[in-house]
Subunit: 547 residues, 2 copies
């Protein structure tokens, strides 16, 4: 087996050394007191799974091997298991409680955009479903290996599309192949003095193609924008033929079809290249922490920053519960001292604000003045640096929590400022109503002039008898709270995949669903691309005509 | 006839008092020396046109009258002529050289978004084509009253959709009905302390619905963004039913369908409401002028401003020819003195830069420092104020130039910074090759981190024997120069309409055209909406299947 693939497969599959981050004893006992007794579990060993034999027809296998070489059509059990789903809580659970896991019939690993087009053509000719697979970090079922009524499904792994194609320093543009990961993109751009500035939590493993396909937003979105703001051009392989978009920084040449390709989650075409706007590496980064007095006040302050052009590149504020949990899990004397200090300063409901500045010294000075004038307590660099150091650790901590018997998941939404309070209350109430003694934490990590995201983290004692149903009910309650009356978007940056599909029609309307389905029929007439995602109909039978 | 409509009709039709701005004698003689002898012409009087009788079937007329009231179904000749096309040079020529002018069979003027939906429903049931009509300022044939194979076509005039529906000061959002004009929007927002900041040259007459439908960009786009950046939500009436989009400032809930509705030019639905991001009225506006040394240097400087976050809200730089023409047309002693001053300062190829700051004093100080360090000569406030005062006068000056026998038109494009020079040279060469002794001027008025727009103004002695063919050939040459090899976008902010349709496939690809056509079939199955625009197929016969 390919060594690189093998490495990734293992790291996706099991909490390997250095991957799981066990909680310190005081944190475990605090957590147990807070959410109740836990029933620890360990990951199932791989052999516990019965992987069905590959259903890829011999002729299709041969045709695919002719395109990519037989070394790059993988149909061993472990390779196929490695692309069976993403990294949602339910995905992780499925790997601990073997059941009906959708496993691709083969993994095909083309070497360049032209080979991707030819793979798509072969799959179209042989009526094989295709699931584009980048970093495999979807938390919404975006890479579930669904067949959509086809006889077989392949995972189209973009790992070998790993080139920085070109850099245009004058225009501040870089062309990347779709399989380049976050760290690789940063490393290669740094050699040219540039940065992308896109650092979502999935950064370490996710790919630029995946960022584009899912409308990713990174932790520095307040400064660098969402990934869709960075995308200036995109190249796709579709069953209807190759598709390139983006000749100018802006255009009025009809609707911006880049916005249709970006966010299409592999349903319209396989993104093979992205042209992104880059920026010079900042001369200096400055991360710092503040404590604000209560959630409402905190929301008002980050709104003021956003509406006055003073948002730091990273702007992130935790609610009272999330702030309390981070203090509790940290523990120790320093934490006790901090609590005392805050009480003395009149801060009874502390909300932690992290600001990360990449340059922008004048704005930083103005922001500090605004914050201090509003009673914010500066904590200096330490909390900012600590957050920065641990900012990709969430997924690893989750493995440790799962071992402990915790139900742990995140969900996110966004709305306009005037509805933030209502949305926050509704989602918390929904989660508290659906789970027993849950710990519900929230932060705002993406701010805009007109609104912000809300990112919830939920912990509860896992129900050992019905672990899937437990979370499915909670997720449904939260999603309905978001969706009802258009309170917020069903996803601010996690995308739709399978999990959010039931809530998309409420957000984009029946006409929107019909338009999306029609666009898919045009680009993918046989419906081979990423079946079941975005709630698009599988077949060609016209059941998806406008209602 | 409705008094307001009558007023607009006349102002669209003839250069009324205060509308035409005759050129001073020295300007006329300078122009004649420069582009050659002219053959003056005057507008044809209205009776010179033979308007065919309305072909609107009686049943459809009755059904429409039932929705909007019989007073709002207008089928008089002058009302219909008033919505026969927009304001391109060819549109204006057609009114001076009567020929095959496409005239709508009736003008229907609904009173609110629900009535628009019902009008669309009636037209769908009766198979009548619908051309949405806002300010009627399209310069690309976007409101041409084409039938698209239907027995009749109506102009759906949105003038009565003139309400500011709501203001959300916390979220900085305003909901407007689609027929509100630029000045009205500004006036109503100012009462709440806000501004939209969208001031295209069509500002005085164009509507918010039109801005959205065409992806308009205003003169202050460097500061306030393009209109599509302001649009947070949109409401449309489509034959497939009502359609609303936009619940959050940002989302990852599938592709951003707002970007499909915006720029759809009435082909997918009639925009009836737009939710826009607004900003506080600036405390202070400061317009100023600089002279830069030559075009290449000028381009490099506005690029540096854009890439360092120092673009003024209005950032506009003219090339050597445009700068020379504005000095020549102005004339007088002050101009002579300026020339002397510039020569003394070593500026032999002056390029005029206008910066308009709406607040942003710190950025202004840094930009001034950067410009002065690069040898820019400050001209102080006067040129900035003069530009600001005359910035909507272009269309009126054009009427005067037409009277003089001048062929006068503008065209625009955009590309990335590294290709600006090539695009500029190619378009100028194409126009000079296609016209005899033309005056070709250019400016950059929209800058981005990765590129900029180029806006060309062309003057030539009108060919009295073939005025249409003369411009059609020049436009084709310029469009091919833009389109070839993806040098630039076929339109940065004028949209596609009829005139740019032949160049759209090269820009968005066959797959893009197929996707657009499919989206149209879903939203508008009978193809009644704005036939012939965007180059979308008219009929339902499947000739538009993916190639």
């Amino acid at each position: 087996m390919n060594e690189i693939l093998d490495h990734r497969l293992r790291s996706a599959w099991t909490p390997e050394a250095g991957n799981a981050a066990p909680l310190p004893p005081h944190a475990v006992s605090w957590l147990t007191r807070r959410i109740g007794p836990l029933s620890p579990s360990v990951p199932a060993a791989e052999p516990a799974f019965t992987v069905p034999p590959s259903g890829l027809p011999t002729a299709a296998h041969a045709a695919l091997a002719e395109v990519v070489g037989s070394d790059h059509v993988l149909d061993g059990e472990s390779e196929r298991l490695g692309r069976a789903g993403g990294l949602s809580y339910l995905d992780l659970l499925r790997r601990r409680h073997p059941g009906d896991l959708a496993v691709p019939d083969a993994v095909v690993v083309p070497g360049d955009p032209d080979e991707v087009q030819r793979v798509v053509d072969v799959c179209s000719a042989h009526d094989i479903a295709v699931v584009p697979f980048g970093g495999g970090t979807s938390v919404v079922g975006g890479v579930a290996a669904l067949r959509g009524g086809k006889p077989a499904v392949i995972a189209l792994d973009l790992e070998r599309l790993d080139r920085l194609v070109s850099v245009d320093a004058t225009s501040r543009l870089a062309v990347f192949q779709a399989g380049v990961t976050g760290p690789e993109a940063q490393r290669r751009l740094a050699a040219h003095g540039f940065t992308l500035g896109h650092v979502p939590q999935s950064f370490e493993r996710a790919t630029l193609g995946g960022f584009a396909a899912t409308r990713s937003a990174g932790q520095a979105s307040a400064g660098y924008g969402r990934f869709e703001d960075m995308v200036q051009g995109v190249r796709l392989a579709t069953p209807a033929g190759p598709w390139r978009l983006g000749v100018a920084p802006a255009s009025a040449a009809g609707p911006d079809l880049r916005a249709l390709a970006v966010g299409s989650e592999g349903t319209l075409g396989v993104i093979t290249e992205v042209t992104v706007r880059v920026r010079p590496l900042p001369e200096r980064e400055h991360y710092e922490g503040f404590v604000l007095k209560g959630w409402r006040h905190a929301v008002a302050l980050v709104r003021m920053l956003a509406q006055n052009g003073l948002s730091a590149d990273v702007t992130r504020v935790s609610d009272v519960d999330e702030t309390a949990v981070s203090l509790a899990l940290k523990g120790g004397l320093a934490t006790k001292a901090l609590r005392g200090y805050l009480t003395a300063r009149g801060v009874h409901e502390p909300c932690l604000l992290i600001l990360g500045w990449h340059g922008h010294a004048p704005q930083r000075a103005r922001a500090r003045k605004l914050l201090k004038g509003a009673g914010a307590v500066s904590l200096g660099k330490a909390p900012g640096q600590a957050w920065r150091k641990g900012r990709f650790a969430g997924p690893r901590q989750r493995d440790a929590l799962l071992d402990l018997g915790v139900c742990v998941e995140t969900l996110e939404t966004a709305t306009h400022w005037s509805r933030i309070g209502e949305l926050y209350d509704s989602v918390r109430a929904a989660l508290r109503g659906a789970l027993d003694r849950p710990l519900v934490m929230c932060h705002i990590s993406h701010t805009y002039e007109t609104g912000a995201s809300l990112y919830f983290t939920v912990l509860a004692a896992r129900d050992p008898h019905d672990p899937f149903g437990q979370w499915e009910r909670a997720k449904r309650a939260a999603s309905e709270a978001i969706s009802e009356g258009g309170r917020g978007t069903i996803s601010h940056h996690h995308a739709v995949g399978v999990d959010h599909a039931p809530y998309l029609p409420a957000e984009i309307g029946d006409v929107g669903m019909a338009v999306l389905a029609a666009a898919k029929r045009a680009a993918d007439p046989k419906g081979i691309l990423n079946p079941g995602k975005l709630g698009l109909p599988d077949t060609e039978d016209g059941a998806d005509e406008p209602r």
